[in-house]
Amino acid sequence: MRRLFTKNFDFDPDKIVMCSNCSTCRWTCTSYEEWGSEAMFAGGRLRMLRAYVEKNLPIDEHFVEAIYSCSVCEQCVERCPIKVPYGEIVEDLRKRLVEIGKGPYGKLGAMGDRVFHEHNPYGGEAKERANWITPDLKISDDSNIGYFVGCTASYRRPEIGVATVRMLNHFGIEPQILGTDEYCCCSPLIRTGQIVMPIFKKQEDGSKKKVGTLDVKSIINHNIEEFKSRGVDQIIYSCSGCFRTTTLDWPKFYREKGGILPFSTQHLSQFLAVKLKKGEMKWKNGYNERVTYHDPCHLGRHVGVFEEPREVIKSIPGIDLVEMDRNRYESKCCGAGGGLKGGFGENATNIASRRIEQALEVGATTLISSCVFCKLNFLDAVKRDGHDIKIVNIEDLFSDLMELG
């Protein structure tokens, strides 16, 4: 059948025909809710892909825009009766678009540039990566427990890194941190298809000169080898995106080199839940507010961590945890993931705003999450739309209630 497909856009037709066009995925689709277009939900995108591939249509900006206007939250996969692996398909598709020079969308390519040059998608200088570390934090160079800080905590929300290390210190753990040797986990690059991409530099005469090739595999392997060489066999994460990528994506790239990950991964909410279970955690203060918990897609639907964060929150004295209508497997996306925040900033904020409204509907005065990226997006929505709600992550709450600040 492949002969009927274009040479320069040879996408596996087996994947496309799996979808039955039933549109069950549309109901809860993050991007359909925002754009309301047939091209902006999983089933519609697959139909569009089919039309482009079968009719040999040239790949234009509409197609690229539609393919990138998805947060890869995988609510569609959850609802799909046939379980079409839509997340994998869309990431594959983005990879193909980058390979043929049609992707990534808009300014998302700048993330690849920045990771290539500075090892983070925000463009902060690589040598400043560890500047968030405050003098009171205890960090060791021989612990078998590591903390993967991630780019957002390192460059945008340093309080998350500080709170997490203080939390670990509270339990007597002095984690190893890669510092300036920590590179991006590559989540934003994998999600947006920038797996292998030529990097160009603009010359004075306006022309572009290739200065190298971004290769996600080498970045990931750098991180793995760094932890391995330092003897780390367990890594804690405060960022759900980094956690998901390490747990589900790194092994694929490392396996290509013939290995399996030399360490285990644990999200800090899981870490705290274990401490709670063992009776090693006692809250110093209570939190007398009605709160609700937002399941980050990367932590929840993708890896399956739903109950541990709730167990930790429920154990806080005085707290009143209520659930939003959409929770756990049906949780609504905050709109930040999959390159949506980078490519469609305003729309991502709209989506976050709607999620916050769901929290307000159940009377919550605090919205707790456990992903730095969700928090960043929610804070943008609060700032823009003036919602009367506090946005915190579990580690923030821990740090405050334990008086670690």
């Binding site: 037709p13 025909v17 799996m18 066009n21 039933c22 549109s23 309301g36 569009m48 509409h62 009766p81």
Partner: protein
């Protein structure tokens, strides 16, 4: 016109202005998406027919719909209303290009009247959303489609049909209390009270409306009474008479539901049990799957561990006391037919799976569906006839009993759409399945475009005549969803028209030339002036071929779709066998 757009650029601009730039598109990639429904049509059909719209608009208010229709009728632009396109009968497929009116932005719940027990909603609301919202109020609708997670209320009203709850409360026809409809000339009516507006289109005829007595088929008596309620006329009319913008539905209190599952060793035992259960109890939803369906589920690891492979799901609704009585009777009739009542877990699982029959698509990877109503009394015979007829095909059947003593029997034929010719030829199966149902006393499930030849038996002659009269008076140019309900011509694609032209132009001189070579005694005796033995004669014949080609295109574009499907079926059957083997 071989393939001209129906909408000129200046008209596109005006339409965009009316509906708002953000809610309008005439870009190619969008048109592909909005010009199809759920059915995976063989790609070749798309090559043959001109099924692409010129533009798509998402109106946000009734007033905008009215302005659009006025403008389109004035400029002779076909209008194709659609919801989410989750039906597969071609009801939303454009046949003459034109403007697709996607109603999903009109998705509000306007009011819930707990006194009259009705809810008024925008036509574009998804059933699932409506159910959720009503549930918060302790209410629900009496019947909803199995496509509730994705289909719209207006879509089901326009397409018609039965679903979950229909065993007790009937199909969508019985749920609709009132509709807001925009007629082709832009007039907005409420169907429950504005019957006179419609009646004026029937002046001079013997017919007046009287829909109150027979809920199932719109009937009218030849007397002088004019009923104000014409709601029934618009339900399942596929948007051929106007655009539904608001729907008022009956609602019921949310009650306890008790799903029960029984399994049987044979189809005969199962159908007998179904008959007994319907006679002795009042299930909210009575559904079955055949042994083939069970086998396919088992292949995917989705089948529950049951004693038999023919499964009945009966869900009852009511107070604890009511339920207890029904459960007891269910057990009795299952036992009497040698069935086994399965565990509560299995029952709950099957009830939760009610929206997802398509899981078996994984075995396809494509599914070709077909659905027909069959009297429950003839179900056993029908299943046997289908079994005999499709010996060489792999398929599964499920069905749901309605409150009319019918079964909505739905067949899923496994196929692979990547094998293009074989998939195209397999189309005969859907048509044959319906035919077998009709022969067993059944009727079409829905009309749309593909079943338009069955309109007469589906609507009944009188109702169809009324619809036709209204259509003729309000839409004389046949611009409201053309080709639906009233069978339309083929409207071939540009490429296919060219092919006909080319074939006729080349074929005629070639045949005559070859005839001159092979049987000169005949050609010289009868048509010496037609044999292209000189260059000028050849040119003359090509000219003649061109003229005949244009005539052939016109003729081909006038052939009704139903005619093609009927005539082509034996060939499809034959070629399917050849291509599959």
């Amino acid at each position: 016109m071989l393939d001209g757009r129906m909408i000129r650029v200046v008209n596109l601009r005006k339409l965009a202005e009316i509906v708002g730039e953000d809610y309008f598109s005439s870009e190619d990639y969008m048109l592909d998406l909005y010009s199809a429904d759920i059915a995976a049509l063989p790609e070749m059909v798309n090559d043959l027919l001109r099924t692409k719209a010129d533009a798509v608009a998402q109106p946000t208010s009734t007033e905008i719909v009215s302005r659009i229709l006025k403008y389109c009728m004035d400029k002779r632009i076909p209008v194709i209303p659609r919801g989410h396109g989750t039906s597969g009968y071609g009801g939303v497929v454009p046949t003459r290009r034109g403007l697709v009116l996607e109603m999903t932005r009109m998705n509000e719940i306007h009011s819930i009247d707990k006194g009259k027990m009705t809810v008024e909603v925008g036509a574009g609301i998804i059933w699932g959303h409506l159910l959720e919202e009503l549930e918060d109020e302790g209410l629900t609708v009496a019947a909803y489609p199995t496509s509730a997670p994705s289909s719209t209320v207006g879509g089901w009203v326009a397409a018609g049909g039965t679903g979950i709850g229909s065993t007790k409360y009937g199909g969508i026809r019985e749920q609709v209390v009132d509709l807001e409809v925009v007629l082709p000339d832009g007039t907005v009516i409420r169907t429950a009270k504005d019957g006179k507006v419609i009646a004026q289109f029937l002046k001079g005829s013997d017919y007046v409306f009287n829909p109150g007595h027979d809920l199932y088929q719109f009937g009218f008596l030849e007397d002088e009474r004019v009923n104000d309620n014409v709601t029934d006329l618009f339900v399942d009319s596929n948007g051929a008479l106007g655009v539904i913008t608001k729907v008022v539905l009956k609602i019921i209190p949310l009650r306890n539901l008790k799903p029960l599952v029984a399994s049987f060793r044979s189809g005969q035992l199962m159908t007998h049990a179904l008959e007994n259960i319907v006679a002795a109890t009042r299930p909210f939803f009575l559904h079955f799957i055949t042994g083939d369906f069970y086998q396919m589920q088992a292949e995917l690891g989705l089948a529950p561990k049951t004693s038999g492979e023919w499964i009945i799901l009966a869900t009852y609704e009511g107070t604890e006391d009511e339920l207890a009585g029904e459960v007891e009777k269910f057990h009795h009739f299952v036992n009497r037919n040698n069935g086994i009542v399965e565990s509560e877990e299995i029952a709950q699982h099957e009830w939760e799976e009610r929206f997802y029959p398509m899981r078996i698509k994984r075995l396809g990877p494509s599914l070709a569906p077909s659905e027909v109503y069959v009297p429950l009394d003839n179900l056993e015979e029908f299943l046997e006839a289908v079994d005999q007829h499709f010996k060489n095909e792999r398929y599964a059947i499920e069905g749901a009993v309605t409150n009319k003593g019918e079964v909505a029997a739905l067949a899923w034929f496994l196929d692979d759409e990547r094998k293009k010719i074989s998939f195209l030829m397999g189309w005969y199966r859907s048509l044959d399945f319906i035919d077998i149902g009709l022969k067993k006393g059944g009727r079409a499930y829905s009309i749309g475009m593909w079943n338009a030849p069955l309109s007469r038996s589906f609507y009944g002659e009188k109702r169809l005549k009324t619809m036709y009269k209204v259509k003729r008076q309000t839409d004389s140019k046949n611009l409201m969803n053309p080709g639906k309900v009233f069978s339309g011509p083929l409207n071939l694609s540009f490429r296919f028209n060219l092919l006909i032209l080319f074939a006729v132009t080349i074929a005629i001189p070639t045949v005559l030339f070859l005839a001159g070579l092979l049987v000169p005694e005949i050609t010289n005796a009868y048509i010496p002036w037609l044999v292209p033995d000189t260059f000028s004669k050849l040119l003359w014949l090509i000219g003649l071929g061109l003229i005949l080609g244009v005539v052939a295109i016109e003729v081909a574009n006038m052939i009704p779709i139903g005619f093609v499907l009927t005539m082509g079926r034996p060939f499809m059957r034959l070629f399917r066998r050849i291509w599959r083997s």
